[in-house]
Symmetry: C2
Subunit: 311 residues, 2 copies
């Protein structure tokens, strides 16, 4: 390892607060964590590549680092979990120098600190290629067990957090807040039957949830919450199609019992709204009901970006 | 995510045996592990890039995948640990297609199966760049606590496993066996005071161990075990220099009490030899004694490849 890389590692180490449950942080061959007692451990991993998951501009080095952590925090939120530690491996473009490397890590560490996540280890490399960041996040379930993609039952109500569509043109895919606080509140007031984060687009990820649970769903077209970017997009694609098929929303899609659903509709207090978008059916497959009453099959659509994002 | 990538993930999933302690493997937003009881958890992470840590040829896709896991297993061995699960993120070159992607994973999974490591999660991406693989390995200490870089005491004897030098020209950096079995045997018969795996070269990594423990060492030049590649290298560099400064040996360097050292010299039975190469001193810094009795300072030398390898 070259001197500049040791300097970078020392700098990163200086930014980190070593705290429980990390008993040995950056600087040895591996990190040590004190695992949760009587709980399973969650592990999420995601790799982002320059030119694929972000480009400079509009991304800055800070936002690239931030996004690399945020997509993993979103995965932990989607399991109804609390993240504890992050591990960061990077391939840094040699031409961009040390300040660039620090900015990437600064963006990541700032978000980590917001959520009490400790950067406990990493691997710093440089090359003549573009920036690549791979982040692994370790966490634990908020309840006794994590909430999986499977588990939705016929009759369950389907909800999404926030609003959908237009994440790429609006830049939200770089700045989105992982729904960790929201899921903590949800897990404390309702029994989450099944959940995932919407990264491939609502229609595609709905199919993932339905396939995992071997159930179907009927979605209400006029109940899908849309972002302003989706509503005012002047690209010839209908706002609803943006909401159904745009990728990288990083909102939560989840199923709860009708009783819990009613509770959410009446009592949910949070800056992030939750919207009921449909119901789980015994009939397999996804269907969508338009405002004129027409019901049609809803194909996975999805962001078939041929690039893949996530486990 | 595109169809080919879902197919690849299905194929990978078919290669994996889902076993305890993995309670939820590939296919959800995060994996779930049952953590060790009353033990800390170890986490190692390493990223390998085509053109930096391997090139095609002499590497094959299988060997690249194998190495990406092996360097992490070596890190876990260096903590006196047992690996349990691996998480793999890849940036696959689009031009090379699905067979290439399968071969990378097949090489990795074959080594994982050899060591009872479960591939429990991953992130599969493709792009127009070269192959990048980042692997995170989770494990647990063999004893109650891991063995760190710090902990060497004045008077301790220093040992290395195997032989050093010439790993890159010999191709051993692609095929080396992580010293997991050796460390299990070591941990069962001696008290390991400090340990690391030699990735930057003996001299450089010796300095890491000495700096961590705030001690010094005197190394015996004629006791350093050299590979045949180091001995017969016809590149104008002395065999000893290869042993001291070549990178990517992935052998273990460790310190034990003189009593335990004597035990190893008399009783060690394993296909992999261990050699005493020197002793820990109170005097700071590393020194080397040549066969003619001369003692000189031993600088870090090391494989200043400006590329970095590992935590």
């Amino acid at each position: 390892m070259s001197r500049p890389e040791f300097q970078l590692i020392d700098w990163i180490r200086g930014q980190i607060r070593d705290r429980a449950p990390v008993t040995l942080g950056i600087g040895d061959d591996a990190a040590c964590l004190r695992p949760p007692v009587d709980r399973e451990m969650l592990v999420a991993i995601d790799m982002l590549m320059e030119g694929v998951h972000f480009t400079f501009p509009p991304a800055t080095p800070q936002l690239a680092g931030r996004k690399a952590l945020a997509v993993n925090l979103s995965d932990i939120a989607a399991m109804a979990g609390r993240p504890t530690a992050a591990f960061v491996s990077v391939a840094l473009p040699k031409s961009r120098g040390m300040d660039f490397a620090k900015e990437v890590h600064a963006g990541l560490i700032e978000l980590a600190n917001e959520h009490n996540v400790i950067v406990a280890g990493g691997d710093t490399n440089s090359w003549n290629g573009p920036l690549v960041i791979s982040v692994t996040v370790v966490g634990e379930p908020l309840g006794l067990h994590p909430v999986c993609r499977e588990g939705a039952r016929p009759g369950d109500w389907l909800f999404v957090t926030g609003a959908l569509g237009g994440s790429l043109p609006s830049g939200r895919h770089l700045t989105f807040p992982p729904r960790l606080g929201e899921v903590e509140q949800l897990a404390s007031c309702v029994d989450l039957h099944a959940m995932l984060d919407i990264s491939d687009g609502l229609a595609a990820d709905l199919h993932h949830l339905l396939n995992a649970g071997r159930v179907g769903a009927l979605i209400e077209a006029d109940q899908i919450p849309l972002t302003e970017t989706a509503i005012y997009a002047a690209d010839g694609k209908a706002p609803l199609m943006h909401g159904l098929s745009d990728g990288e929303d990083f909102e939560l899609l989840f199923a709860v019992s009708p009783d819990d659903g009613r509770l959410l509709l009446s009592d949910w207090r949070n800056n992030t709204p939750v919207h009921k978008i449909g119901e789980i059916s015994e009939v397999l497959g996804a269907r969508i009901r338009y405002s004129d009453g027409r019901i049609e099959p809803l194909p996975p659509l999805g962001w078939t970006h041929s690039l893949g994002s996530g486990q």
